[in-house]
C-alpha cells in the first residue's frame, strides 16, 4: 500500500486517449474496431488489454504505436501525437511473433534499431551485450534466430525492444504462441524486467491469469464494437512471484476480470 501511494505522487499521464473511434472501411460493410475509447496510462504502469479475439485490443495498441490512424478522437503519447512519438522512438514494440530477420544473427538483430537511430558500433555492441544478459541470453550473440527455440526468439525480440531504452514497452500477445511452461517463466522474467527498468508496459493478452499476474491495471474490452467495459486495478507487490496465484486476492481479481468479460459478452450479443 505504502509503495503504491508513494509512487502515485511521481506518476504522470504518459498516454492519454479520449473519445477515440476507429472504423475500417471494407468491401462489404464498415467494421467498428474501436468505439468511444477513453483511457489514461500513467508512467510506470503495467497495463493489460484483455478481451475476446477481435475486440480491438491489438488495434488499440497499434493506434498508440502509430501503426493505425484513428478515425476520430484524440490521443497523446508522452505529450505528443503518436506520430511524433514514433519519430522520437519513444516505445519498443514486441509483436505476436518474434519478427527477427533471419539473415541477421541475434546480436545484429538487436543492433537493427540502434543502427537506425545512429548509435556508434561500439555503443551497439555494449547495449546488445547488456540487454542480452538482461534477458538471459549471453553467449547466444552469434546464433541465428532460426537456430533458437520460440521462447528464446521472443526473448531476443524483447531485448531488441529494450535496446534503445525507450520509455514504453508495447507488447502484443508476445507469449501467445509459446507453451505454458515457457510462458510462465517469461512472465516472471518480464515482471523482473519491468521492476528493474521502471518502464511503462502496455500489454495485450487473452489470458486472464497472465493479465492479473502481470498488470497493475487491467483494461477489459468487448467486441463489436471494440470498447472498454471496465478497468480493474490490482495491488500486488512489485516483486511478486507465481506463489500469489494461490492467494484469495489473486483469485478475486481473476473473478472480477472474468465477470467483466462475461458482462461485455452479454452486452454484445
Amino acid at each position: 500500500m505504502n509503495e503504491s501511494s508513494s509512487s502515485k505522487a511521481s506518476q504522470s499521464t504518459i498516454i492519454d486517449i479520449s473519445n477515440l473511434y476507429l472504423t475500417f472501411e471494407t468491401q462489404t460493410e464498415p467494421v467498428h474496431a474501436l468505439s468511444d475509447v477513453n483511457l489514461q496510462v500513467n508512467s510506470g504502469d503495467f497495463l493489460s488489454f484483455i478481451g475476446p479475439s477481435g475486440c480491438g485490443k491489438t488495434t488499440l495498441l497499434r493506434v498508440i504505436a502509430d501503426l493505425e490512424k484513428p478515425t476520430s478522437g484524440t490521443i497523446s503519447v508522452e505529450g505528443q501525437s503518436p506520430h511524433e512519438a514514433r519519430l522520437n522512438r519513444s516505445y519498443g514494440y514486441v509483436f505476436q511473433t518474434p519478427a527477427l530477420l533471419p539473415w541477421r544473427n541475434v546480436e545484429s538483430n538487436i543492433h537493427l534499431p540502434l543502427e537506425v537511430s545512429g548509435y556508434s558500433k561500439h555503443e551497439q555492441k555494449k547495449l546488445s551485450q547488456h540487454y542480452l544478459s538482461l534477458v538471459g541470453l549471453s553467449g547466444f550473440e552469434k546464433k541465428y534466430p532460426w537456430q533458437l527455440s520460440g521462447g528464446m526468439q521472443q526473448r531476443v525480440s524483447i531485448a531488441r525492444a529494450l535496446s534503445f531504452d525507450p520509455g514504453m514497452l508495447l507488447m502484443d500477445e508476445p507469449f501467445g504462441a509459446l507453451d505454458e511452461i515457457t510462458r510462465d517463466r517469461l512472465n516472471e522474467e518480464l515482471l523482473r524486467l519491468w521492476q528493474e527498468t521502471q518502464k511503462t508496459v502496455v500489454f495485450v493478452t487473452h489470458s486472464i491469469p497472465e493479465a492479473v499476474f502481470l498488470s497493475n491495471k487491467i483494461v477489459v474490452m468487448s467486441d463489436r464494437p471494440g470498447k472498454i467495459i471496465d478497468i480493474i486495478e490490482t495491488n500486488f507487490p512489485k516483486d511478486r512471484t507465481f506463489d500469489i496465484r494461490e492467494t484469495p486476492e489473486f483469485l478475486e481479481a481473476s473473478q472480477r476480470v472474468r465477470e467483466a468479460l462475461k458482462e461485455g459478452h452479454n452486452d454484445g450479443s
Binding site: 516505445y91 514494440y93 505476436q96 519478427a99 537506425v116 537511430s117 532460426w146
Partner: protein, 377 residues
C-alpha cells in the same frame, strides 16, 4: 513371391553381374580365339567378385574397394580392346555381355556409395562429387564403346576420345571462339541485362502503380522466345559482339526485373511494421529489410540468367556473325561435317555454363544461408 524373398537380402545386381560374366565366358569359348578378344582370366575375376557380392550379406568397405578395383580393371581392358580394333571392325556379343556385367557392377557400387550415411563434412562433399562423377564417367565409357565398337560414322557421333583430340589440334581456334562468345558477348550482356533489370525494379518499387503493371508485362516478355530478336539486333547493332550482347541483355533483363519485383514484395507485414516503429526512412527499409528478403529471388534470377546468357550469345550468332564465335563454329563445322569440332565446342560451352551457373549457386549458398530452403535440416 517366395522365390523372390530369398534374394531380398542378397544383391540382385551381384547376381545379374554374375550371370552376364558367365555368359561372356561362355560366348568367349564359343567364338574362335583371335587376338582381339577379352582376356578370359579377367572375366573370371569379375565373375568371382560378383559371386562374392551375391553370396556375402555384409557389404563392407573392403568388398566395395575390391568391386571398384575389378570395375576399373574391366573398364580399362574393354577400352584397350576397342582401341586396338581396326577401323571397321564391329565388336562381338562377348564384349556387349561383358559391358552389361560391368554395368551391374557399377550400379551396385553406386547404390553402395549412395547408401553411405556420414556426418563428416569432407566425406559428404567427396560423395556428392564422386557419385555423379562415377555415373558420368560410365556414360562416357558407354559412348566410347558404342561409337568405336559399332563403328558409328564420325559425322553422326564422334567418340569422346576423338573429341578430346580436337582440344590438342584446334586449341587456339576454340579459345578465340570462347573469347568472342563468352567474354565479349555473354558477360557484358549478362551484366547489362541483369543490372538494368535490377535497377528498373528498384525504381519501379517506389511506385506501386508501375509495379503492378510491370510484373504481368515482364512475365509476358519472359515467356516469349527472345532468341527471335537476334536478327533484329543484328540489324541494329551490326554483326559483331555488340548485337549478341544486346540479345543477351534483353534475354536476361526480364527474369531479373520480375524476380526482383516479386522478391521486394515478399516482406512480411510484421517486419515492415517493426521497421515502421523505428521510424526508418525508405532507403533504410530497402537496405535492411526488403533487399535482403529479395536476395533468394535475385540469386535465382542470376542463376537463370547465367544459362540464358550462354544460350543467347550462341544462338544469336546463327543469324550472322564475323567468322569467330562458338555459335558460328557450330553452324560452320556442321556444314563441313566436322562433328568432332562441334562437340568440342559444345563441351566448352557446357563446361563454361556449368561453372558460370556454379558460381551463382555458390554465391546463393553464401548469401542466402538463412533461407529455409538452404538450411541444413
Amino acid at each position: 513371391m517366395n522365390f523372390l524373398t530369398i534374394f531380398r537380402f542378397r544383391s540382385l545386381r551381384g547376381l545379374l553381374c554374375l550371370v552376364f560374366s558367365v555368359l561372356t565366358f561362355i560366348s568367349l569359348q564359343l567364338n574362335e580365339i583371335n587376338d582381339h578378344a577379352l582376356n578370359p582370366f579377367m572375366v573370371i575375376i569379375i565373375a568371382a567378385v560378383s559371386l562374392a557380392l551375391f553370396v556375402n550379406r555384409q557389404q563392407g568397405i573392403f568388398l566395395l574397394s575390391i568391386c571398384f578395383a575389378a570395375l576399373f580393371y574391366g573398364v580399362w581392358s574393354v577400352l584397350s580392346l576397342i582401341h586396338s580394333l581396326n577401323a571397321d571392325t564391329i565388336i562381338g556379343l562377348d564384349v556387349w555381355l561383358f559391358v552389361s556385367a560391368l554395368w551391374f557392377l557399377t550400379w551396385h557400387n553406386l547404390v553402395q556409395l549412395s547408401a553411405i550415411k556420414t556426418k563428416d563434412k569432407f566425406m559428404e562433399l567427396f560423395l556428392t562429387v564422386v557419385i555423379p562423377l562415377l555415373f558420368g564417367s560410365w556414360i562416357f565409357f558407354l559412348w566410347e564403346v558404342i561409337t568405336i565398337g559399332m563403328s558409328v560414322p564420325q559425322v553422326l557421333l564422334p567418340s569422346p576420345s576423338l573429341i578430346w583430340q580436337v582440344f590438342d589440334g584446334a586449341g587456339a581456334t576454340l579459345l578465340a571462339d570462347f573469347n568472342q562468345t563468352f567474354v565479349r558477348s555473354a558477360i557484358p550482356g549478362f551484366i547489362m541485362g541483369s543490372g538494368a533489370g535490377f535497377i528498373i525494379a528498384i525504381a519501379a518499387d517506389k511506385t506501386p502503380f508501375l509495379q503492378r503493371g510491370l510484373i504481368p508485362i515482364g512475365n509476358f516478355f519472359s515467356a516469349i522466345p527472345v532468341v527471335g530478336i537476334a536478327p533484329i539486333m543484328i540489324m541494329w547493332f551490326g554483326f559483331d559482339w555488340q548485337s549478341k550482347a544486346a540479345v543477351v541483355a534483353i534475354m536476361t533483363f526480364f527474369p531479373m526485373l520480375v524476380n526482383t519485383l516479386v522478391g521486394l514484395n515478399e516482406t512480411d507485414k510484421i517486419d515492415r511494421d517493426l521497421l515502421h516503429t523505428y521510424a526508418t526512412n525508405y532507403w533504410r527499409e530497402l537496405l535492411s529489410l526488403r533487399l535482403p528478403n529479395a536476395m533468394p529471388f535475385i540469386l535465382n534470377a542470376l542463376k537463370i540468367n547465367s544459362t540464358l546468357a550462354m544460350i543467347g550469345a550462341i544462338v544469336a550468332e546463327f543469324f550472322g556473325t564475323p567468322i569467330v564465335g562458338m555459335g558460328f563454329r557450330i553452324s560452320a563445322e556442321v556444314g563441313r561435317m566436322n562433328i568432332d569440332m562441334v562437340w568440342a565446342t559444345i563441351a566448352i560451352a557446357a563446361l563454361t555454363g556449368s561453372i558460370f551457373y556454379g558460381v551463382f549457386a555458390l554465391l546463393e549458398r553464401k548469401l542466402t544461408f538463412w533461407h529455409p530452403s538452404m538450411r541444413k535440416s
